[in-house]
Subunit: 216 residues, 2 copies
């Protein structure tokens, strides 16, 4: 039979999985085809983000309660501290995805090279979110390391987009709204990649007690 | 005579003050006049950032040790948890300031309206960093609330700059490097403001046990 403490850790785990799946949902729906009803997408993203914020509060409160009342052993302390740190990264992933949906819904970013690149970034970071949360749930250090490695290609994609935009400005091939919106979306997606790296680092800390590399 | 635990809390305090002053240094030096030797500024910022990263690690380790070994009472637990969360925001402030210095050193952002606006943003967020750390050190809830209120004008400044840049693109009045670099610097400064809001929120949590508003 589980102790009360083990039950509470189990609830914490379940909450983190749920928060992770909300993050996956919100990213995946952030760049839907322009022809669809964008206002409903933005409203949906805003609603999902509110749920994510609420979960951050709940999980933080739960972690602080576990830390204070239960005097956990080292392994559990690491897991609870990791959760306390990770929820901020998950919340930021939610916030940044909602920003992406809001910018995209304004309709300045149309089909073309950068749009295809942004779509690819969404797929990459979405998979990294899934992997980082799975790594936590299954105590999977190698999956966490994979997330950290994958971030380099997201950073590369951001640099590629930035370079194209500088050319667009000089050639007047796109208007200002397009350039600014593409850059902001790319930057948000690049930061989402960074937050998955942070989550992965906390997973590794939770497993090994060592902090791997730098938070980003 | 102080207990060992009280001594350790005192060391934690001192470390946070030191980390805060490094953050103030790195922001203040991020937008120096273009005529000076920018490479030395960038190197200086990089070095300060390395110190900030090291302090993040040290303080995190110290917080986890205090949480595990000392079984703190509620007030101290809140303070330690707040410190554990705040150091990430302080580290991000350092990272974003170093990015600002690196972008600015490339020399694409020259004197003019946006430069004056960026300088003003630097002054605003620099004061917010000082205030948020002071609020923690002195358990000053009203100072923390002031930081949270001040963030609106930083956000406003960012929007103003973004709007001017869209006009610049359509009028071809500045080249692509200028536009992209100004936007990136403004975005980093806007995020620094957000991180001071997070710190202020953790200060309020540390004092009252209540989380004020949303993390940003």
């Amino acid at each position: 039979m589980r102790s009360i403490f083990e039950n509470q850790l189990h609830v914490l785990n379940t909450n983190l999985i749920l928060m992770g799946s909300l993050c996956e949902d919100i990213i995946s729906s952030s760049l839907v085809p322009i022809s669809e009803n964008n206002q409903s997408v933005v409203n949906g993203a805003r609603k999902t983000y509110q749920q994510i914020e609420q979960m951050e509060h709940d999980i933080e409160a739960q972690c602080l309660k576990l830390l204070l009342r239960q005097q956990p052993v080292a392994k559990d302390l690491r897991r609870i501290s990791a959760a306390l740190k990770m929820v901020y990264d998950m919340k930021r992933i939610g916030a940044q995805s909602a920003e992406v949906a809001a910018i995209f819904s304004q309709g300045h970013v149309h089909d073309g090279t950068e749009f295809a690149q942004l779509k690819q970034m969404v797929e990459q970071v979405s998979a990294m979110v899934t992997d980082s949360v799975d790594a936590f749930v299954h105590d999977d250090e190698s999956l966490a390391l994979k997330v950290i490695q994958n971030d380099a290609s997201v950073d590369q994609e951001f640099d590629t987009i930035k370079t194209s935009l500088i050319t667009h400005i000089s050639e007047l091939s796109h208007d200002g709204d397009y350039v600014i919106d593409v850059l902001m979306i790319a930057k948000y997606l690049e930061r989402i990649g960074d937050h998955t790296v942070n989550i992965a680092r906390w997973v590794i800390f939770s497993i090994t007690g060592e902090l791997n590399g730098e938070e980003t």
